[in-house]
């Protein structure tokens, strides 16, 4: 069984996603439980895989159908993506649990909940596949699974959501086509699609033009998917109008895994010694810096919770790209750590935003006055996660920024350090404005849709509380144990520079 873990992590939720509509025909409640169970099983297996990779100390290779690479599709699990897979599976399972009060299994509309859970599960499958695969075209297929599931989950949200989803569909398709084009150029230059094989064969390629065009296509393609600055147009509307319960997953990890794919391409496939690599780093750096400042400034303008969080995501994706632009060990370690920590932070913040909507239908910060008296646990989580976003120790957000700053100083790029500090201060402004409303704003009369008195004194259902607290706990754990994570990914990242 331990040998088949890489593929079981994907197959078990895949079975869940396909069985869910069938089971829902007879019992919607059990259809929902199938998906939640499958995602939790996947999470347990991903933790087992993480332990396995740590014990072996070398990457695990899984060959589909026994076809050895470069002919067959290969799954490669090394230090970096074992962490990513565990993160995706954890957030997937938590979000499926979190969704259940929002999408109650209703025998009258049994296929509404069945469709929702099935699509949510497909989103998780696509992200898990994107992180485990070692094949460039396979990554495209999984990326499209993620996108199609994402369009669906965004479209069933608020009233304006279908237009947001439609625009994301158009932009996302251009992104996917650009990625495919980049892969096509690499395939024409190397004749292989396996990433490890491609890295070896690219060293003999003398036609630099092909590689430059491929790189440009990949930056645009993956940049659209990760909402990097000038390509972010679809992101704010899509993230703020999406289905409330699925939003944490869409905002949290759907834009992180393309960033991880970018790391794969720019550090594992392309050789660091290529002459134009410096220029590529500079271009990505400019995009990142513009994105960081733009996202932070734009977030100041809005009073809607989800809009603020969506624009802050543009800024945070900029940090990840900044890590790639710095391009030394600390830069990459900071970027990978930021992928993980920001996934939990943004997921947690969207959980709190959805919880506020669930109980009081709060969408704007102006209505949040004195909510901390009525929802102490949610408010505490919000404060923890927001402080982590701003970058205060001992939370995880501080340490990823710390590594990024270390990398920038080591390269002598002090401008990047200044940008990091400036955007943290801007982040402090927009999050402290939320705190001000939360603790000192005027109390408004609101209808309580989950009265604590009727539910044994609980402010929210346990199915909402557990994911909320888990996200906050993960942020504190990642903050305190950041050196463990960095040690874990160190070996894989160092190999990039030794190769």
């Amino acid at each position: 069984m331990i040998n088949h873990l890489p593929v079981l992590i994907i197959i078990v939720p895949l079975m869940g996603a396909i069985l869910c509509p069938l089971i829902s025909y007879y019992s919607p409640e059990w259809g929902k439980k199938t998906v939640i169970g499958a995602l939790f099983a996947s999470f347990v297996m991903s933790v087992m895989q993480l332990v396995n990779v740590a014990e072996r100390g070398e990457p695990v290779h899984y060959w589909m159908g026994g076809w050895n690479p470069p002919y067959g599709i290969e799954f490669v699990i090394d230090g970096v993506n074992a962490v990513m897979i565990a993160m995706v599976a954890a957030i997937g399972a938590m979000t499926a649990l979190f969704s259940s009060p929002f999408e109650e299994a209703n025998p009258k509309h049994r296929f509404r909940s069945a469709g929702y859970y099935s699509i949510l599960c497909f989103l998780a499958i696509g992200l898990l596949g994107m992180s485990s695969t070692g094949d460039a075209f396979n990554l495209y297929v999984f990326m499209e699974i993620v996108s199609l599931a994402g369009y669906g989950l965004i479209a069933i949200g608020e009233e304006k959501a279908p237009v947001a989803a439609f625009r994301y569909l158009l932009t996302g398709t251009i992104g996917a086509c650009m990625y495919l084009m980049g892969v096509g150029f690499l395939y024409s230059a190397t004749g292989t699609l396996n990433m490890a094989d491609m890295a070896v064969r690219l060293q003999d390629v003398e036609n630099m033009t092909v590689i430059i065009i491929a790189m440009a296509c990949l930056v645009v393609g993956l940049g659209v998917k990760m909402a990097l600055f000038p390509l972010h147009g679809w992101q704010p509307a899509a993230h703020s109008y999406a289905h409330h319960a699925a939003d944490p997953m869409i905002a949290g990890i759907m834009i992180k895994i393309p960033a991880y794919a970018m790391f794969r391409f720019f550090f594992c496939i392309f050789d660091e010694s290529l002459p134009m690599m410096g220029t590529v780093h500079k271009i990505v750096g400019v995009m990142a810096v513009c994105g960081i400042l733009f996202g932070s400034l734009k977030a100041l303008r809005y009073h809607k919770n989800n809009k603020i969080l969506a624009y802050s995501s543009i800024c945070q994706v900029g940090y990840i790209a900044l890590g790639f632009a710095i391009g030394n060990f600390y830069g990459i370690a900071g970027a990978v750590l930021h992928i993980v920590s920001h996934a939990f932070m943004k997921t947690g913040l969207f959980y709190t935003s959805a919880a506020l909507k669930y109980k009081y239908h709060i969408e704007y910060t102006d209505n949040m006055g004195q909510v901390y008296r009525k929802m102490p646990v949610t408010s505490l989580t919000l404060v923890t996660l927001a402080l982590s976003m701003v970058g205060l120790p001992p939370f995880a957000g501080f340490f990823s920024k710390w590594y990024l700053a270390l990398g920038a100083i080591q390269n002598g790029q002090y401008f990047y350090v200044a940008v990091l500090v400036a955007s943290s201060l801007l982040g402090a402004i927009y999050f402290f404005r939320i705190f001000e409303k939360l603790f000192m704003g005027e109390e408004t009369e609101m209808e309580d849709r989950y009265p604590a008195a009727e539910h044994g004194g609980k402010e929210l259902p346990l199915r909402i509380m557990i994911p909320l607290l888990m996200a906050a706990a993960m942020i504190i754990a990642l903050g305190l144990g950041n050196s463990l994570v960095v040690d874990f990914i160190e070996k894989t990242v160092l190999e990039v520079f030794l190769a």
């Binding site: 075209f137 495209y140 297929v141 499209e144 996108s147 199609l148 369009y151 669906g152 479209a155 009233e159 279908p162 237009v163 989803a165 439609f166 569909l169 158009l170 398709t173 251009i174 996917a176 086509c177 495919l180 084009m181 096509g184 395939y187 024409s188 699609l193």
Partner: protein, 126 residues
């Protein structure tokens, strides 16, 4: 003269035509105000990508890549991998178009129109 043209077409021209097609697709997606037209342009762009891959696998005098007894070297048949990849890409583009049409029906239901200008209430300044 014909020969020169054919050689040019085989070496670079076919790629140029493919990229013109792709550029037309993206241009249409940006310029068209009607969402249905945007979907059609999206399909044109995807077809251009499919052409691009298929031309990679093409060669002069190649035959079908099936098991035939007198085929001995890789020179004699066409590389089947790009075709296999594009089969997947066609399926993906079918799925994307399907989702896009479903979204369009939903948009029509909510707004009663599929014209961008009427939905957003903004007009391009002429």
């Amino acid at each position: 003269m014909i020969d020169v043209f054919e050689i040019f077409l085989a070496e670079k021209g076919i790629y140029m035509l493919t990229f013109i097609l792709m550029g037309l697709g993206i241009f249409g997606m940006i310029v068209c105000g009607n969402y249905m037209k945007k979907i059609i342009c999206m399909n044109i762009m995807q077809v251009a990508i499919i052409f691009f891959f298929l031309t990679l696998g093409q060669k002069d005098g190649g035959t079908l890549p099936v098991l035939v007894h007198n085929l001995t070297s890789a020179e004699e048949y066409i590389n089947p991998l790009p075709h296999a990849l594009m089969l997947t890409a066609i399926v993906v583009s079918l799925g994307t178009t399907g989702v896009a049409l479903a979204l369009l029906m939903k948009i029509k239901e909510i707004y009663g129109t599929i014209e961008e200008e009427e939905i957003t209430g903004k007009r391009w300044k002429k």
